[in-house]
Subunit: 273 residues, 2 copies
């Protein structure tokens, strides 16, 4: 196979298999090419991935050496994306009765969701994450997007148990905004003890839902490695119950009378890795 064809195949391989380690002989054999040629190919792919802000190829030498694609866009790329997101969210057509913001179109766009996933996964790239967890319903696509870049599975917490998931652990928690008692359920099979978990959700008000997920993780003796929320409400009257999290945007003000919305970058912007 010619180098040009190999490069197309290699690029697809790395993009489809992030964080999967392969040694050089694997590629030499797959493409029937000399090790030196393969090494040059990898240099070309690596350089281009870096230039395009997609991430890089992590190379290790020695007998167990090989290569792995780490998807990691830059902090600046993340900021640029967040700025666009803020503008899009400030469209007055999004205002719903009660001062809520319509975001289902953004969460319904697979490309948008993938970009949000890329920003979180890049931010959490150095952390040792075994699984991404979210609660039904709107956080689900975001959780999968993050998980696909981190190459880990997703577990979904439900509000109601399902017979098709077997025995489960449930907790009750107090919703921060409504002060109501709510339930969260996670099937026993879905999480291993000691797992390092990345919690992802679409929206955080006072943080009750996230706190609920953290409590649920305690029941599984699992660890919270990272918390990411797409949007947080900037409500100074509410005391936030969650301490360490990464938010992409902050919905700072929704004025029903003037139909003005103010959306600012979240704490992602302030905390360069």
């Amino acid at each position: 196979m010619k180098r040009s064809s190999r490069l197309v195949s290699l690029t697809n391989f790395f993009l489809e298999n992030p964080r999967q380690h392969r040694n050089l002989p694997y590629f030499s054999q797959k493409y029937n090419a000399a090790k030196a040629s393969m090494s040059e190919d990898l240099d070309i792919v690596d350089q281009m991935f870096r230039e395009e802000g997609l991430g890089y190829l992590k190379r290790t030498s020695g007998s167990a050496g090989g290569v792995m694609f780490i998807p990691e866009s830059t902090h600046d790329n993340g900021l640029e994306f967040i700025e666009e997101l803020c503008k899009e969210l400030e469209d007055p057509i999004r205002i719903l009765p009660g001062g809520y913001l319509y975001m289902s179109d953004i969460l319904g766009d697979p490309k948008m969701v993938r970009e949000i996933g890329r920003v979180f996964a890049s931010k959490f790239s150095d952390m040792d994450i075994d699984v991404v967890m979210t609660v039904a319903t709107k956080g689900i696509p975001l959780a999968y997007a993050v998980a696909s870049f981190l190459s880990v599975p997703v577990v979904i917490v439900r509000r109601d148990p399902k017979v098709t998931e077997g025995s489960s652990v449930s907790i009750n928690y107090v919703s921060g905004s409504s002060r109501k008692i709510q339930t969260m359920v996670l099937p026993k099979r879905s999480l291993q003890e000691g797992a390092n978990v990345c919690i992802i959700d679409d929206f955080m008000m006072a943080g009750g839902t996230i706190t609920g997920m953290v409590s649920l993780l305690e029941e599984f003796n699992a660890n919270v490695a990272a918390i990411g929320v797409l949007a947080e409400a900037d409500d100074e009257e509410e005391e936030r119950t969650v301490e360490k999290y990464t938010s992409l945007v902050k919905i700072s003000d929704v004025d029903l009378n003037t139909k003005k919305i103010q959306v600012l970058p979240g704490n992602f912007a302030a905390n360069k890795k």
Copy 2:
């Protein structure tokens, strides 16, 4: 930029932007390369995509001509994947009380989900689909996977209305298996009149949920373009209410006593496009 680097960049561009039309000058300008060179690059990418079963570059000539990546794996690749899936589902450890099958691990694996999406999207590739629809919760990741290959948005039907989605249309329907009356809700904003919709779900028993979604689409004057379910139950006593659908696997028998599960390929196998 050298051809080798261009090929890495082009491959990533097409994989990230399926079904997005671009004309040749767009690429010539982006890479500062002659049209003839670009055309050769596209030939190389096209050939490799075909060889790897990823799809092909659809080229159109003339003044409005250009190129578009159509992700489309072959029917044989689909079958091969389905055979593996059947084997994995036949593991007796999956049996849950009541004869249900634990599938959350498969639905929680982003790579698996993506492959399922690829099979459906390839099957429905020639259809004119505007949007993918599913019902919360387990169909959601599958719907996004299909939608990402078709490059269309996803809308999620809920069992309960949410204040953050604005006014909505709801219907009542009879669940096929439990004969209970259930509710389905879709926000008014989320679907346009006349839209061609692809319905995706994880599991179909008698077909009540799918029939409910079809009825809901009638309220929006939208059309059912295609229906895809990952697994269907092979229950001869139940009369199926859904006529035309594509299933990847058929859960033919779950024997609680002998702990034997029989999973066969669904009707996808029988209907070559």
